[in-house]
Each structure stands twice: as structure tokens, then as C-alpha cells.
Symmetry: D2
Subunit: 298 residues, 4 copies
């Protein structure tokens, strides 16, 4: 399939490479000429603008940092909507707010194009390995149409419901993640302060009702899980600033529907405090440093 791809950052570049490997023809654009050049060397056709990338494409994929970038890439004078044909499916894999998704979908529909939100989980590792999870919001037809394309980049392609529900799934999951990590950090730090061996505490938690991904896979206490960022100085995982972005999208969406999110809003402040103190680039599990008095300062 001929695919336009816009956004070749840490996530987008390896995703685009996996599409090339699967035999798709790619027209790629990024604000970084070097990023475009690197993909061109891998077989993609470089495009001079989002518009050019979208021209004559059967499918357009965007992977961008925030809603403002998506808006600009889609609706700018040189944007995707200015170049795209009719009957095309536009897939946005960025993590953005559900309200923007609905606005973009409406613009696409006016052009007789489908718009699908398909944010991912799995991180840069999953992007490289092609094992991402895609949470897809859109009509069943649109979902079926893009599923083969997304399958070249991910392992689980989940249909979440109508337009916007892909983003809803992602931000609700990450709200829960932000809260459970803060809870595990408090529980582990409290246990340490009260004199229990952190490994013993984690082993009990992980076979009991406190069990969660934040404890059994990504435990914030150093040394408990060898493969977790906490065991390598909180580097190389899911950065605090990224968590802050996602949990901010969740509390904003909650505000838009007047839905209280007590512990979510508090967890957001904890990650904000980390970011303020210069720990924004550390893995978000470093939130435990707010609780451990003998830990080195973040």
C-alpha cells in the first residue's frame, strides 16, 4: 500500500521502518531533514511537506508530540488535508485529547476521508520490535481497513469503539498507571521505613491484592526487579515528563466532562513536583525518591 507518514521521531522512525520492511511504499515527512534522509536511505520517498507526503497516498499515518502539531500537520497550508485524495484513511498514532480527535475526524469526513485515532503503548522498544499495542478508535470499516497496516508495526490491534475511544483507552490506562505507581512507591517506601526487606515486601504484594504492573514488572524500589528502570538509575524507561503529559490529558479530559479524579490529580502533582525539581527526564518510577529520605536527590 502507498502510505504517507508524518513524524519520524523516536517512535515514528522505527514504526516507519517496520512498514517498509513489510513491503509498503512510504512517502515520509518530518521537520528534521536528517530524519527524512535516514528513512529515505531505508527506501522511503522523501516528501517536502505533509501535503506532499499525503498526495496520492492510500493511507496517511501521523506520529507527533501533541495535538497542536497534529492540527498544524493536518490543517496547515502545506498540510495533509490539502494534499490527500478522497476515500483515504488518516491514522493518528499520537497521544492527544479525545476532543481534538473528534474535531480532526470531522474535518476529514468533510473531505470524504476516514479518521482513526490509534495511540500506542509499548514504548520505543515496542516500536523497534514491531510489538506495539494499537488502541484504535473509529468505525468498524475503518478499523478493518487499517488493521493490516498497523499489524506491520504492532502485535495487538484493539478496536476500542468509535472515534476518540482509542485515546480514551490510552489516557484512562495511563491515569491508572500513574496512580498505581505512586501507590506502590508509597507502600514500598513505607515498608522500608518500617523495617521490612523491600524484596520480601514486593514478593508478598505481587502474590496478593496489591499486585500490579507497577509492582511486579516495574517496581520503583531499586534492586527488586532487575529489568526495571529503578535498577539502572531510573534511566531508559517511560520518562516523567511523558507521564506528566498523559496524566495531564486525562485530568483535562476529566475537567471537560466534569468528572472528579481525586487521586489522579494528586498523582499528577507528584510527577509535576519531580519535573520542577529537575527529574523530568528520569523514568516516572523515580517518584519513589519523593518518599525515601536516604535516597540520593532526584
Amino acid at each position: 500500500m502507498k502510505i504517507g507518514f508524518v513524524g519520524l521521531g523516536n517512535m515514528g522512525a522505527p514504526m516507519a521502518r517496520n512498514l517498509l520492511k513489510a513491503g509498503h511504499a512510504l512517502q515520509v515527512f518530518d521537520v528534521s531533514a536528517a530524519a527524512v534522509q535516514a528513512l529515505a536511505e531505508a527506501g522511503a520517498v522523501p516528501a517536502a511537506s505533509p501535503k506532499a507526503a499525503a498526495t496520492a497516498a492510500e493511507c496517511v499515518i501521523t506520529m507527533l508530540p501533541a495535538a497542536a502539531h497534529v492540527r498544524s500537520v493536518l490543517t496547515g497550508d502545506d498540510g495533509v488535508l490539502a494534499g490527500v485524495a478522497q476515500g483515504v484513511t488518516i491514522v493518528d498514532s499520537s497521544t492527544i485529547d479525545p476532543a481534538s480527535v473528534k474535531a480532526f475526524a470531522e474535518l476529514a469526513q468533510r473531505q470524504r476521508n476516514a479518521f482513526v485515532d490509534a495511540p500506542v503503548s509499548g514504548g520505543t522498544g515496542g516500536a523497534v520490535a514491531g510489538t506495539l499495542t494499537f488502541m484504535v478508535g473509529g468505525s468498524t470499516d475503518a478499523y478493518e481497513h487499517v488493521k493490516p497496516v498497523l499489524s506491520a508495526m504492532g502485535r495487538n490491534i484493539v478496536h476500542c469503539g468509535d472515534t476518540g475511544t482509542g485515546q480514551v483507552a490510552k489516557i484512562c490506562n495511563n491515569l491508572v498507571l500513574g496512580v498505581t505507581m505512586a501507590g506502590v512507591a508509597e507502600g514500598m517506601a513505607l515498608g522500608e521505613a518500617l523495617g521490612i526487606d523491600p524484596k520480601v515486601l514486593a514478593s508478598i504484594m505481587n502474590t496478593s491484592t496489591g499486585r500490579c504492573w507497577s509492582s511486579d514488572t516495574y517496581n520503583p524500589f531499586p534492586g527488586v526487579i532487575d529489568t526495571a528502570p529503578s535498577s539502572r538509575g531510573y534511566t531508559g524507561g517511560f520518562g516523567t515528563d511523558l507521564m506528566l503529559k498523559d496524566i495531564g490529558l486525562a485530568t483535562d479530559a476529566a475537567k471537560s466532562v466534569r468528572q472528579p479524579v481525586f487521586v489522579g490529580a494528586l498523582a499528577q502533582q507528584l510527577y509535576q513536583a519531580m519535573s520542577t525539581n529537575g527529574a523530568g527526564k528520569l523514568d516516572f518510577s523515580a517518584v519513589i525518591k519523593l518518599y525515601r529520605r536516604d535516597a540520593d536527590e532526584a
Copy 2:
């Protein structure tokens, strides 16, 4: 073994029955004569006081609502310490604060007796089935000594470390549990408000980073997990008032060591608000009612 057993409530009675089934000789006491009578019919020797239950016993087990009861049962004029021989291990399976455990252990040691804290998880179902988890705090010797006895009542007998660490494990786990449940409640209610099917949302969460016992086993949204209390009107699970007791022990212990527990303290207030509003007897997952506007009032 000849065992003194004090406290024959919802948990203690089935635990004592399992000891009888395993062939132990029991001397039992409870403030309820009916409870004592019921156990006597099952083969236990009724005792007129904690002291009488402890007399000539090789091991004494207490299973009581709170530290004040344990104190009174141990140190009263007719208490366990007034009747017990030397070289006996006293096992307290109540959930109480770690500081009280240490005080009781000291009193026992003065008498040349060992004291072990061994709070349980698994609820009344686990007590009846003999599948409880025991979190044991005490010396290795004491742990090895009581392990066979506890094995008649539970499946996992975990040595957590020195005296008090059994309670630390339990309250830290339940702190995390109280937080994760509140987080899942917020995430599920937010998803509902934003228009995603709750079953779809839960299925994504449960295979992603939001995965936790509160979501995959005990999901607070009605109908998501058939066997969860949420699917039967929030009855018959872990009562809100019990969660409130445990999370209160955790925040009190945190206060005693000046350890902040931000989200834990907030979750405590949420359960307190439920209790204030008359929902104290409902399963604690009913906390989701604080968030769902169309849910029937708690």
C-alpha cells in the same frame, strides 16, 4: 499440639475448626459464650478466660478486631500472659499496628515466651477453606516452630522478617490496594464518562500497564468481572470499614515514622467519605460510586 485459641469471630472460628480437623487439641475462649459453645461441639475444650485457654498450652493463637482487644486479652488479670507456661509461642493473627506488636513481644519475652505476628489475607472464604496467607514476623526459630500449626489454616506461610514485619507487610499491601482500587475506580468512571465501553477499557487495562488486582480480579465497574462484588451489588467482599481500618493503620504507622503517604492519605479520605455516607458495610470497590453520576446512591 495443645493450642490455646482466643477470638472465635468470622475469621477465628473457621480457623480454629481447621486446627481441630488437623488433629490439634484446642482450648478456646471468646467473649461470646455461643461462639465457644459452637467450637466445643466441634471438639474443642471450652475455657472460661484467655488465661484458662492459655494454661498448659504449647502455643497460643489470638484473632481479634484491634490492638486494644489484643492488649486486654494478653495483659488482663485473666489474660493469656497470666496463664501461659514458659517456652510457648504466642501467635497474634489480628491486624494491628507494628508498634503494639513490639510492645507485646517484649512482654512475652520477659516471660521467656516467643511472640509472633501473623496477620492473614484471604478473607472469611480463605479462613473456611484453609487457604489463608499468613505474613509472619518473628525469629526464624519461632517461624519454623509455628509454621506447621499455621499450615493447618493456610496455604502460604511467609516469613517476613523480625517481629512486626508481618503487620508491616499486611498494611503496606493494603495501602497499595486501597490506592489502586481508587485509581481504577477513577479510570473506569472517566472512561465511561468519555464514552468507551467499560468491558473494552478493562480488557485493555488488564493487558497493559494499568493491570492490577483491583482491575483484573476485583474490577469496581459492575458487570466487568462476574465474580467481583461489583457484579453483585458490592456485597460479600472486603468491607469498606475494614479497608478503612487497614489503611488507617498504614497512615498511622507512616505518621509514627514521619513518612509521607500522599495518595494513601487521600484514598483513606475517600473510604471515610463512603463510611460517612452509610456505605461502610459495602465492599470497598463501591468507592466507584463516588465517581459515577448515574449510579444509584451508596
Copy 3:
């Protein structure tokens, strides 16, 4: 002075009337023709658009619900910036985010016009009486220029600093207000539950370190302050949804500069919970209903 005035709602209409009373010539616009007609009867010249209201004006004042309205009124095809001359001062008295203020100021400057943010406190009562407080952000020149105009509508015209600082003053004040009200509500409800006469408690608080406007002027407990909304069924004061808007601006601004606002974010959730439960139109001091078990439901 010839003044263009856009936005004739509950606040804007009485403000415009006070300008007329002070002898200014007004060109007025509102999306409601009836609102324009009412002002025309009071002596203003009706305008067909923001552009028309701004044409030939020496000063333009906008008083609108949110930043999106200000943007549209200023930058639309029929907007203020399309009609205004050079050397004019545009005063926005809406409560909006400081970042939008800076963007609008830049647009105005490109036209060689000054832009001043001048949000108010004092409510509709103060708007009618002409006793508002204006918090003015802008250059000293611009402040001096508009001070006489604002003085026709308010009693205190405070220069807060550069562009945007008027909004900063307002949202920081209202953040503190939202927190103190929640705190007083908790303290008063706790006192009631513990058996002290609420009037006695308030009188102590108001002569002690708990003293605050939320306690001594606007106490949320019914009957403590006769003139407070709490003593008339929480009607006719500062609506919860308005507090929610202002505290939302504060937490959003905090997010934009990565500044934690722990208690502010929590207070926001409390007002959000009220709004969810249908109490959004009640005075914000009705937050105490979340705490009082025998109070009628909000």
C-alpha cells in the same frame, strides 16, 4: 472618551452602564441583540459587530466568558483588531489564562495598540455598584491611560505589573480562595461532628490563626454569617462552576510552568465533584455539603 464595549452579560452590562453614567460615549456589541438594545436605551450606540464597536474608539473594553470568546472577538473577520485605529488601548476584563493574554498583546502591538489585562473581583454586586477591583497588567503608561476609565466602574484599580500579571493576580487569589473555603468547610464540619457549636467555633477561628475571608465573611456553615450565601440556601453568590473555571485556570497555568499545586488541585476536584452532582449553580461555599452527613443533598 469614545469607548467600544463588547460583552454585555451579567458583568458587562452594568459595567457599561457605569461608563455611560460617567459621561463616556459607548459603542456596544453583544451576541444577544436584546442586551445591545437594553444598553442602547440607556444611551449607548449599538454596533453590528466587534469591529463596528471598535471603529473610531479611543479605548476598547471586552468582558467575555472565556479565552476562546476573546480570541474570536479580537481576531475574527468582524473582530476588534479589524476595526480599531492605531494608538488605542484594548482592555480585556475577562478572566482568562495569562498565556492567551500575551498572545493577544502581541497581536495588538503589531497594530501599534496597547493591550491591558484587567480582570475584576467583586461580582455582579460590585459591577452594579461600581465598586469592582481591577487587577491591571500592562505598561505603566497603559495603566495610567486606562485608570480613569476603569475608575468609573471600580473602586480599586491596582497595577500588578507587566502584561498578564492582572490575570496572574486574579487566578492566584482565587486558587487560595478555593483552598481556604475547602479548609474552612472541613474545619467547620469536623467541629460540628465533634460537638462544638458552629457559631462558637467560627468566632474563635475568626479571632485566631484560622481567620480568613472564607470564615469571617463567607462562612460556609448556615447561620454563622447572616449575609453569606450559606444562610440563604447557597444562592446568589460565586457559583461553583465559576470557581471551577478560575481554579482550573490556575492549575492549568501551574501545569504550563511545571509548578505543583497539591491542595489547589485537590480543591479543584472537590468543586468538580459538586458540579458532577448537580451543584454547579450553587455558591461554591456549598462544598461543605460534601462533609456534612445530615445536610440535605446538594
Copy 4:
């Protein structure tokens, strides 16, 4: 009047001196012999125990750190209740939990003595100057009886209601204080981060709805109020650990009556975080250091 006085610390010693100055005869006891000696030099009769201090006294006053000390001083073998005559009024000016007050009052009543709780506000400065506020819980008779005595030590002697309500008034006030200070700290720090002059912001707040003792008298931002601890390095005021004690009494009392205190519990965690980080001896307004990124570390 012949008065027994137990507890000669930072508060008790100057209070006792003021009683001496007013012409009362004092029998004094403290665990510190030096403290007793100092008072003896000022004219008091040294006593060897609380019992001795209470013997033949017409009124007994205790001023101690916590409920456990009061219990021991009252009920110990050498305690006040062992030495006191009948018809005496026992005044406890310590800040303790209302439930303990009721227990002590019952013990006193069995001896036909009255018990009055009379915690103070005003700090060591007020204790020296004799300008304390006494919040008195007890019968009207008991209040009238002790009022002249308390007037020698304080300026406002407020009758709060029945036994325990003095403590209720104090802890509810200090709950509100703890919350308002955290709120002001957030508002001031946010204003700073958004670029407004802190003095300007405070002056607006202090004439507007954010006005409170924590802002207009004790502003946490250095340099805003010359006489506030924030302007002298957060020394010499109301220590964080003392705030933590009082707000802990409030949240504990709330727990005992199942009353939610959302923002109060969160403020408690903030002060706990300060204490954890070694700032427990600083004035509690140093909580603003949690928010200001360029402030020197607490």
C-alpha cells in the same frame, strides 16, 4: 489561690510565672529539676511529684506535650489524682485529643472534681506576655471558677462548650490554619513562577477574597511581611513538628467520627514531607520551600 502546676516547659514556665505575679501561691512540678528550681527562685514551692503539687491545691493546672504525659501525670501512682482533694478544678492546657479529655474528666468526676480542657493559642510570646487565648471546655460553673486564674495568663478566655470542646476548637482552628498556609504557599509560589511581584500579589490577596492570617500576618514568602518567620529564615515561629502534631490530632479525631478531611489530610502529608526532609524545626510556613524551585533546600 493555691494552685498546683505541672509542666514547666517553654509554655508552662512563663505561664506559671504570670500566676505568681498575679499573687497566686504555686506548688510546681516538672521532670526537669532545673525547671522546678527556676520557678522556686521566682517564689513557687517546689514539689517532688505531681501528687505533691496537687496536695491541698484549690486548682491544678497541667501543661504537657501530649496525652500520654497527661495520663501519666494524672493517673500515675504519684499522680495528681492520687494527691488532690475534693471540689478542685483540674485544668489541662495541653493540646490533646478530645477523647482523652473525656476519659480524664470522668476520672476526675469520680473523685468529685471538675476537669476543664483549656488549650491555648498565642505561642511562647503570648505565654510570656500573658496574652494567650484559652479555649475552655467544661461546665459553665467550672468555666466561671477558672476564668480569674486563666486571666492571669491570657487575654481571651473563651467558653467553647462542654468538656472537650476547648480541644475541638483548637484542633479545628489549626486544621484550617494548616490548610490555608499550604494554599497561600501554593498561590504565592505559583504567582512567582508566573512572573508577578510577590509583594504586589500579597497586597492584592490581602484586600481580596484570598485574605487570611497565613497571608496578611504570616505570609510564607520571604520579605513580604517583615515580622513573619519567613523574613528571618523560618526561625522562631510555630514549628512544623508542632503543626504536624496538631493537624494529626485533627485528622485522628476526624477518623474517630468518620468525617472526611480531604485537604486537611493532604496538608498533613506536606508537613510530614517537610519533617522527613529535616525541616521539622523550621516554622511551618517553610512549607513554601516544597514549591519554590530556586529556594535553598529545607
